[in-house]
Symmetry: C2
Subunit: 361 residues, 2 copies
Amino acid sequence: MSSPSTASVDSLSAVAPAAPVLAAPVGSAVTAADIVLTGDRPTGRLHLGHYAGSLQSRLALQGRCAQTIVVADLQALTDNAGRPAHVAAHVREVVSDYLAVGLDPAQTTIALQSRLPALAELTMLYLNLVTVARLERNPTVRAEIEMRGFARDIPAGFLCYPVSQAADITAFRATVVPVGEDQLPMIELSNEIVRRVNRTTGTEVLPECRAMLSDTPRLPGIDGRKASKSLGNAISLSATTAEVRELVMAMYTDPAHARVSDPGQVEGNVVFAYLDAFDPATEEVADLKQHYARGGLGDVTLKRRLIEVLHNMLEPIRERRLMLTAQSDLVDDVLADGTRTARLRTEAVLHDVRQAFSLTS
Amino acid sequence: MSSPSTASVDSLSAVAPAAPVLAAPVGSAVTAADIVLTGDRPTGRLHLGHYAGSLQSRLALQGRCAQTIVVADLQALTDNAGRPAHVAAHVREVVSDYLAVGLDPAQTTIALQSRLPALAELTMLYLNLVTVARLERNPTVRAEIEMRGFARDIPAGFLCYPVSQAADITAFRATVVPVGEDQLPMIELSNEIVRRVNRTTGTEVLPECRAMLSDTPRLPGIDGRKASKSLGNAISLSATTAEVRELVMAMYTDPAHARVSDPGQVEGNVVFAYLDAFDPATEEVADLKQHYARGGLGDVTLKRRLIEVLHNMLEPIRERRLMLTAQSDLVDDVLADGTRTARLRTEAVLHDVRQAFSLTS
């Protein structure tokens, strides 16, 4: 990792204005005393689904509480062990996406999971406190095992990754973890491990955390299915204007809406899902829905509006990303600095946990 | 851990002569180029079973090749998570036993597992390369699960510990691992992981290792069952003369050998098992066996001989241990020095493996 460069990190905020925050899906529950932990697996560039679902929420939290984002390259290997170079290549991309949308390393710590050895050490300790049966019962893991077609051939690392997540959460003493509803069992397991560590060692060495559920609906892919890099149905944050146009034009609307004059279905219409997520003129969008439903509003008109909305939103992000590409060391420096900060924090927690477990330090 | 003290480490060889090596159960297969790795779980003091089974073999290897002994405190926690202080307390005892029998830190590296973070990091990487089904098929793990009565409540760390052992072995680039026959599946799994790492990363980053099977039969406990701290049927290396006398006098011989004149059974007779292991006068022992079998040799006579043999063997070990107790920092220093050496070595291997996995360093 390259050496720290505070100058270039500080200069970042001068590069371009932060992208506008359209929604603040964060409950009033978060206080300045909270420590929020989130993360992404670097298996592809971030897309509009990430923007609507988590990046905007992180932007809203920025400055309101302590916030760390972990680039989970080790967790990405749990089901990408066969293509480590692919994972490695996307670390810089993901960090570039963070900076491009306006996450500020002076306020948000961005760290690389594989450079935080305390996480592996905590995972090893926690693995002794969880039974295999308990891990196999985890509904999130079960669903993902099915989705990925692992069946009996689950990598052991994949079965154990909720324990690794508990290590991530506790290593930062995170008090708040934003998650989707499907990830609530992970939080439950993490708190179970915390209680077991505290009971086993007879000290309150770790705090429990609470889940922060997003009130933003999940943004679908352009075909209406779950947005996913592998399905090629997501619009990446770094997509060019031409790519955005092409993908919006291919969006699923209402197959029964054959002529402009026909009444159209708003529910399940991907264009409206995106307008709901990103069009700041919410009253106009409501009118458009009524117009579309009674007939007389064409898909092309709607899609042109969405292209315009996305252009306005993505243009500053794109410019910022271009600046980052020009300052080639900056992304590396941000990650090195954040990782260094995170390393100190996680080593301190590991020290406390080791001491509680009577491990000589 | 206390600071290094080369002086006190060097002075160790002057404390007392090394215990005599009665057998060299090591095949001719080991060369000066080999790296041998062994370890013990610090869950109790070492006993005569360890001496016959592994300590003598380590003494025989000393100086003939590179040798590292890992005090496996983390592995001990896989089934002792509820009593970490018990494990911690036995680390010094086990190292004291090593030094007392004559293991020389100038020739044999003695390191503490929990102070080698590279092991946890390698374990995390390897967990992605092994399926849960593969771990569940491991006969050693299955046998131990049954023995420990875990059933469905196996701690995840226990299921995964063969992967952790593969991390230990590979972190030292060990080429030779002395094991009992029941542990051969562990070695097979470790080599499987090595091949998978090399294939996945497209480099020969790790070497395979070979098992070194001991030709010494396992020494039974005084009751003829497997020697175990929890059964209280083992004679610890640090037992007092009185304790040794008492335990030998309680040894299982031949229940049908009621009178001295009765013919006695040699097979399964614990006293003969110990004489075979430790009496340097092997021809006399052969004569005694014949005498015992035809009748006319009493148990008490035999046991007195064994007490004498054990006294001669244990006395220098006991003296050495007493010296160590007087120099209270010496054991800590030896462990700190060895751990530092091991840390450099394992970090270097981790660096290579990380690089092979395209993880930024």
